[in-house]
Amino acid sequence: MYSNKTMKSALETMMFMLGEPLEVKDAAQILESDKDIVRGLFKELQNEYDQEGRGIRIRQIEDSFGYVTFAENEIFVEKLCTPVRVKKLSQAALEVLAIIAYRQPVTRSEIDSIRGIKSERVIDGLLDKDLIEVKGRSEGIGRPLIYATTKEFLKKFGFESLKDLPEVAEYEELRRNPDEEDFSGQLSIDFNDSER
């Protein structure tokens, strides 16, 4: 049995070596400890780094933790080196990603029908970027492929897990409760006015 202090130190070493998020279950196995305990230690570390205002922070993705830089220090990173920049996603890619994120697992024809236009090339682009993956085939006619988001998706948009996806009300609900929230800016449709 290792002390908590030793285990936390070990977690730091392993996160640093690995580069990518370290799974709680792997860490627990190596430390011969319980997953809940190890997860607790990861979160303690995460807090310490935040409290101390460190330049590196600990990010949780699903049930794994890894070092990342502190976002506000980006300016220093840019002065130091030219980090590899990923091209920002197009509007079409964001729409398809939104559909997959909220409706996964989902087939291409479902995506097409929600967008009202073919999305094949956009889907291929998202597969290439490792933001979505094929999760198998639907039981439906023709057994079409079904798609789901990846860990890379969570990383890119800073979600800990899919549970973190924000709740977005249906248009109909928005229209019925126009005072509840102000969606007009985002939707660019004036609901209040349309109620007249």
Binding site: L94, F157, V168
Partner: protein, 252 residues
């Protein structure tokens, strides 16, 4: 009226939602005639600007036109009662509503992409020295072996085809059949000379190479099988001696 938007629309719903927004029209209460006119007008403009108007845009135009004419017809029964029917706009409204929701999520994602743009991971450290003495887990499956095997067989067959063609040019005359007849003639000659035991070596052509030896040997085996002659070999690697087939007459 609406302003002309320069950037391209992501699809017919994108365009329609934009037009509704400009006309301050509710998705669930579309003034079909008005919006259809605007929609078709816009498609014409897109064509004028040489923007790609994909078939999906046209399909939605057709849907709108159909809806428009449907709504112009009075819906009354024979007795003059107004029929209560489902709003023909309901299905389209439902789909537009879902599309608007997706667009809102896309906007949220865009903001989050922006916010997370400044966060970097680092590559893994060099762990090679720890990998020198791993616990080896052998990854093996039936599929793996079968596909490797098929690959091998395919390769082998290709090589064989090439080799065969090459050899058939070089050795056109030297088939087993021709070699057998060559050897049978030679044997008969030797037997006629009164020799009962003929060393295999004497049946080889002059300047025989490895191929000739192999071919002759294969021919000899066939000859034994066909009961043309017998052969003996006293010890490993020892000389082979060919004799007359003793039971030949009995067999025939």
């Amino acid at each position: 009226m609406y302003k002309v938007r320069i950037d391209k629309f992501e699809g017919p719903f994108d365009l329609l939602v934009y037009l509704l927004e400009n006309a301050r029209m509710d998705i669930y209460d579309i003034k079909v005639a008005e919006i259809t006119e605007q929609y078709i007008e816009y498609l014409k403009e897109m064509e004028e600007f040489n923007l790609e108007v994909s078939s999906e845009f046209i399909v939605l135009a057709a849907v709108l036109i159909r809806m428009k004419s449907y709504m112009l017809l009075p819906r009354v029964t024979d007795t003059g009662e107004v029929m209560i029917e489902e709003d023909p706009r309901a299905e389209l409204a439902g789909r537009l509503s879902e599309y608007v929701r997706i667009k809102k999520i896309a906007t949220i994602l865009k903001d989050r992409e922006e916010a997370n743009y400044a966060i970097y991971e680092k590559p893994a450290e060099d762990m090679s020295k720890y990998l020198d003495d791993p616990d080896e887990i052998l990854l093996a499956s039936e599929d793996q072996m079968v596909s490797a095997f098929i690959l091998f067989l395919t390769k082998k067959r290709k090589v064989e085809e090439v080799t065969k063609r090459y050899q058939s040019v070089r050795r056109e005359k030297d088939s087993i059949e021709s070699r057998i007849s060559y050897m049978v003639k030679k044997l008969e000659l030797k037997f006629k000379e009164g020799k009962g035991r003929i060393p295999f070596k004497e049946l080889l052509p002059d300047d025989a190479d490895k191929y000739d030896v192999t071919l002759s040997f294969m021919s000899l085996l066939s000859m034994i099988k066909q009961q043309t002659c017998d052969a003996e070999q006293d010890k490993n690697f020892g000389p082979i001696t060919i004799t007359r087939k003793e039971t030949q007459n009995v067999q025939q």
